[in-house]
């Protein structure tokens, strides 16, 4: 048991080494971009002369800031932190999507599977380690990356405020609820992983099966299955929308990309609009957790277990391509 845990730990470390560019650097790079945009916005604010401000945007901004109540500032900061969090969730999902797609395919393509299989590592351990990267390691890296990025942007804002004779501590830092905003992001990652689990399982399965281009299989196989299903219903039962095949997938994607909005009931269009100005961070957490109380989540986890199990089984028979 101890040696099995050691093997899993080694496999996770291996994934970290291989993919730290994607999972560790990406959130930091976005943070850097946000910081640069802040500086640019500040540096260029005087160039846009708007009549309303009497020709001096910055002065107007400063005087406005001074007039704002603490509650309004907090809300503004929450909107910033939650909307960047939502953006990070979306990017995280995209990265995990492509990571999983290649996870059981790339090593078959370049032959390194033969090295991995020459070590006493079971296929179950290998596949589970990939799933753990998607559900635990990558979200953790993104959470830390988001925290660093927020602090970085806040540091720049503080310098700008200081430069203009304002106190960043009373205006900025004391009005920010880091714990609940970052907590919302971290819980969002867990909710995201839970809703996305059937998609992750499917990606692992296609990655293990595909002889070439797992992407095509991952995307087109469900499309074909969906169309056959619709035509079957249309021709045989004359009941076109008996089970919403595409709708289910659409909802899963929406919840996986925007976990903050996953608590909103029954989206009309199959996509969620997350509007951070409508909800506080605590509302968001509450909503996400309430959203988990759905039987669909259990079906999704069962589907994920089946597809992951199949991926492990197929992996045993697969070598180089």
């Amino acid at each position: 048991m101890k040696s099995k845990m050691k093997t899993i730990a080694a496999l996770l470390k291996l994934e970290y080494w291989e993919h730290r560019g994607a999972f560790v650097k990406t959130p930091l790079i976005i943070g850097l971009v946000m910081g640069v945009i802040t500086i640019l916005a500040y540096a260029t604010s005087d160039r846009f002369v708007v009549d309303l401000s009497g020709g001096d945007n910055l002065k107007l901004a400063i005087s406005t800031l001074e007039q704002l109540s603490d509650g309004q500032i907090t809300m503004g900061l929450d909107i910033f932190m939650l909307s960047t969090g939502s953006l990070y969730h979306f990017i995280l999902f995209i990265l995990i999507f492509f990571f999983l797609l290649g996870s059981l395919y790339d090593d078959r393509k370049d032959g390194s599977i033969l090295f991995y299989k020459s070590l006493p590592i079971s296929d179950t351990q290998t596949v589970l380690s990939k799933l753990m990267v998607a559900t635990i390691i990558a979200p953790m890296a993104f959470t830390v990356g988001l925290m660093i990025s927020h602090l970085f942007v806040f540091l720049i804002l503080s310098l700008i405020l200081l430069f203009n004779g304002l106190n960043p501590f009373s205006l900025l830092w004391s009005n920010t609820s880091f714990i609940s905003n970052w907590g919302a992001f971290a819980i969002g990652c867990i909710v995201q992983a839970l809703w996305a689990l059937p998609l992750y399982g499917w990606l692992l399965f296609t990655s293990a099966v595909a002889k070439r281009r797992p992407f095509l299989m991952a995307v087109f196989a469900p499309l074909v299955a969906g169309f056959i299903w619709y035509w079957y219903n249309a021709l045989v039962n004359l009941n076109l929308f008996k089970i919403g095949f595409f709708k289910t997938i659409g909802i899963l994607f929406a919840k996986a990309t925007t976990p903050f909005a996953s608590g909103i009931d029954q989206p009309k269009s199959g996509s969620f609009e997350f509007d951070p100005s409508e909800q506080s961070n605590l509302d968001v957490i509450q909503g996400m957790l309430n959203g988990l109380m759905q039987i669909e989540l259990v079906y999704g986890i069962i589907f994920a277990a089946v597809t992951t199990g199949l991926a492990i089984y197929i992996r045993r028979y697969r070598n180089t391509i």
Partner: protein, 285 residues
């Protein structure tokens, strides 16, 4: 002596194409076995079955373990180099050592470092920065640092130049092999490994056509170098193969005809590659 590998009625088909046909063999501990056969003869399929990478019909037992069912368990005791270029390209040498150390209970990092120190490989190199020969050296260094009972090498030196190939086999025999360990090698460059083999197996169209130890093999066949005057006389004794070298004929015979043939020319020991060619042709005719 105990059998480290035993196969009984081993069969493997891909659809209608039968790759392995009723293979029966045992390999004893402490041998260096050359598995030799033309392309597509089933060598790699056989080795993949031995390594638990492919399921097959029949009984196969390696160290008493069914390879396909219990591959992770088996891999603690055996190791293999399947091709020269299977190490992950993105990884750093030090990371590769860390990973192997953490996943393999019988790996010695000190040994690996000592082997690597003899090469030009640096620990902060990435595998993709190494030349093909260096990757093979690295892989061999890792494999030789694993205290395994069986080592399987499938074309380990493919694509390497002669200097690397010689060094590869020298290291293998001098630094790794002892009489507790067993090595199975396949290669097309038979002449380069001939001197290190204790046993040879010829495989053709999925069947083992010859399985013998080197001494028996060499005593069962012999070569005679015949000049033009004795050519016809020697040909009448039906040599297995004939090749012409510098105006003389080198003919391969079975040991039974030695008394009749030896007066006709200079007798010499045949090489494994000559025997291989002869036996493959004999099968065809």
């Amino acid at each position: 002596m105990s059998a480290i590998l035993s196969a009984h009625d081993l069969n493997k088909s891909y659809g209608k194409f039968q790759v392995l046909k009723n293979i029966n063999l045992t390999i004893e501990r402490g041998k260096v076995v050359g598995l030799i056969g033309p392309n597509g003869a089933g060598k790699t399929t056989f080795l993949k079955s031995v390594l638990g990478l492919l399921p097959c019909d029949g009984e196969l037992s390696v160290l008493g373990i069914d390879p396909f069912k219990k591959r992770p368990e088996l891999m603690k005791e055996i190791c293999f180099i399947a091709d020269v270029a299977v190490l992950p390209k993105w990884i750093q040498v030090s990371q590769l050592l860390d990973f192997t150390e953490q996943t393999h209970p019988n790996f010695s990092r000190e040994k690996a470092l000592a082997f690597i120190a003899k090469t030009k490989i640096k620990l902060n190199h990435k595998v993709k920065e190494l030349s093909k020969g260096m990757v093979a050296q690295l892989h061999l260094a890792i494999v030789m640092s694993i205290d395994a009972q069986l080592l399987v090498l499938d074309e380990p030196t493919l694509g390497l130049d002669i200097l690397f190939r010689k060094e590869f086999y020298n290291n293998l025999i001098n630094d790794y092999f002892n009489h507790e360990r067993t090595i199975i090698i396949t290669t097309h460059q038979v002449e380069e490994i001939e001197h290190i083999l204790t046993d040879v197996m010829f495989i053709k169209d999925g069947e083992i056509v010859l399985n013998a130890d080197m001494d028996t093999l060499k005593s069962e066949y012999f070569e005679v170098m015949v000049n033009q005057t004795n050519y016809q006389q020697a040909m009448n004794l039906k040599p297995l193969t004939v090749k012409k070298v510098f105006g003389k004929y080198i003919m391969l015979f079975k040991a039974e005809s030695k008394s009749k043939v030896s007066p006709l020319g200079e007798v010499q020991r045949p090489s494994v590659s000559d025997l291989f060619v002869a036996l493959m042709q004999e099968e065809q005719s």
